[in-house]
């Protein structure tokens, strides 16, 4: 084969190859540089006190414990609401809805929704939840805004994985006299747990990384609260805190420390998403 290539052709191939190597190397270097720089600037600022204290104006110290709690609260509240909603919507659209036109319109809308910039969700969430529903600037209003933002993701990943459940399982169950709901509960849903979990983990990542939507709806307070009290109060999540410390207080050390923490969290989340997907694939093959 190779012999038949003309010299010009061979030079072209070699050139393209070199170009591809170069771009790969450039991207790799860029990523490493970015991560390295953030970790280098951030990690020295991470101390036990920094992680476990609230900021104090009197002592002039900064701690991100309330922001960590707020992040956790928002993640929990959002996931608790978005998961059942998204899974139910997916099951309804894929297994029950008979109007295929309507289904494809809804799927298209969901696809579009997931492409909208988050700041727009923030604006709408502020007007709807904070003002119209009079929830004020609270973590709960933020969580509800994030529910809307993540609903398409959870729904679509669940739908995709519903499609991977073989039709023959459904036929087998129906053939034994099982009703629709029993078929879904015992054969279809267990077959798509991996998709649900993947969607869930992806959402957690997006929630942790979200700032614009939460700036509008959840506020910027750094106060330590319990879960329910927290949801009823205004509060900054880690990402929002990063913005505030960097932009409004010029505390770049703190901002980089938070950035480093967020980056490590993202890494852990992505790895666990992969691990979940892999372990389910293995389980199914047995």
């Amino acid at each position: 084969m190779n012999k038949k290539l003309s010299p010009g052709r061979r030079a072209y191939t070699a050139g393209m190859k070199a170009l591809m190597y170069a771009s790969t190397a450039a991207i790799g270097a860029l990523v490493l540089l970015l991560i390295g720089y953030v970790l280098y600037r951030g990690i020295p600022n991470i101390t036990w006190k920094f992680l476990t204290m609230a900021p104090s104006i009197l002592n002039d110290t900064i701690g991100i414990w309330p922001d960590i709690l707020n992040s956790i609260y928002v993640v929990i509240a959002t996931i608790i609401i978005v998961l059942p909603l998204g899974v139910c919507a997916a099951v309804y659209l894929s297994e029950y809805a008979s109007n295929k036109r309507l289904v494809s319109i809804i799927e298209y809308a969901a696809e579009t929704l997931s492409g909208i910039p988050s700041i727009i969700y923030g604006l709408v969430g502020m007007l709807f939840f904070c003002e119209f529903l009079k929830m004020q600037t609270t973590l709960m209003a933020g969580a509800l805004t994030l529910v809307i933002m993540n609903l398409p993701t959870v729904m679509r990943t669940t739908q995709e994985s519903l499609k991977t459940v073989p039709q023959s399982y459904r036929e087998g169950a129906f053939g034994l006299g099982a009703g629709k709901w029993r078929v879904i509960r015992t054969v279809v849903l267990p077959g798509c747990v991996d998709g649900v979990i993947t969607g869930c983990i992806l959402s957690v990542g997006r929630i942790l990384g979200e700032s614009a939507a939460l700036l509008f709806t959840a506020g910027i307070a750094h106060v330590v609260n319990g879960f329910f009290m927290g949801l009823k109060s205004s509060g900054a999540t880690l990402t929002v805190a990063l913005y505030i410390y960097a932009k409004e207080r010029g505390e770049f050390g703190v901002a980089f420390a938070i950035a480093a923490i967020l980056m490590l969290l993202t890494l852990i989340i992505n790895l666990s998403a992969e691990a979940v997907a892999r372990s389910f694939k293995n389980k199914r093959r047995i």
Binding site: Y169, R170, E171, G172, A173, F174, G175, L176, R285
Partner: protein
């Protein structure tokens, strides 16, 4: 063949459309109890469609229109108020490709009984053993009932699926080319099994393999392009077909 009291399924003037495409044209057939009826014919002639009509599995496909009647033990299965779940319990289905659920062997067999409300552990144990014995696979799996059924070989999986169908104590077993995905040894095991099972059950089996029809069936129905061309005793049909098209098909001139 004429209708007689011994027929368990009686099909009259059955037509079926998928959208605008007519897949079954005026089918009339009576299936006698405790016998094996083979459905033969070139692929696409409507054998699977016909089989699925008998336990209303076509209900799952949108845009299907059916006219005519199918009587099971004298009652129209399409009549309003028919309990489809109960109908499918009494008329079991074994599919072309073995389709065990991705759960343990035990749970596969217990799936049907549990669906119909049996929760008692001892009773389920009993049913599982009886069904697996009935499908001649008990000895091969009795030590690994808790293992995933997908770990079995193709032939074992198909016998497991037969056992799963037997577990709800059906009267009729519909089998759609149950051996087409299997090796010769597994195939002969399933054929043997089918011949044992007809003592207790009525079997309707689709096969593309005419030797198989001759080996195991009492009656044979020949389908072509959605029509039932000929139906009769298997030996008679294969020795003296009355229709030219049947003769052409069984002598291998097309198909």
């Amino acid at each position: 063949m004429e209708a007689n009291e011994k027929s368990i399924l009686s099909v009259k003037e059955l037509c079926l459309w998928y959208g605008n495409h007519q897949a079954l044209k005026n089918i009339n057939i009576d299936i006698p109890k405790n016998s094996i009826t083979a459905l033969i014919g070139p692929s696409g002639c409507g054998k699977s469609t016909f089989l699925k009509t008998l336990d209303r599995m076509n209900d799952l496909i949108p845009d299907v229109k059916i006219t005519g009647s199918v009587e099971y033990k004298g009652e129209d299965i399409f009549a309003p108020g028919v309990d489809v779940s109960e109908l499918r319990r009494q008329i079991g289905m074994v599919f072309q490709k073995p389709n065990p659920f991705p759960m343990s062997i035990y749970d596969n067999i217990a799936y049907g009984p549990r669906t119909h409300g049996i929760r008692n552990r001892a009773k389920l144990d009993d049913i599982v053993e009886k069904s697996l014995r009935g499908a001649a696979i008990w000895d091969e799996v009795k030590d690994r009932l808790r293992k995933n059924a997908l770990g079995l070989s193709g032939g074992q999986q198909q016998r497991l699926c037969i056992a799963r169908a037997l577990a709800v104590e059906p009267d009729v077993l519909l089998m759609d080319e149950p051996t087409s995905a299997l090796d010769p040894i597994s195939t002969s095991k399933i054929e043997e099994l089918a011949m044992q099972l007809k003592e207790q059950y009525t079997i309707v089996i689709v096969t593309h393999n005419m030797q198989q029809a001759v080996r195991i069936s009492d009656n044979t129905a020949f389908f072509l392009l959605g029509e039932l061309v000929e139906y009769g005793k298997t030996e008679e049909m294969f020795s003296q077909p009355t229709d030219k098209r049947t003769e052409d098909y069984i002598t291998g001139r097309f198909g």
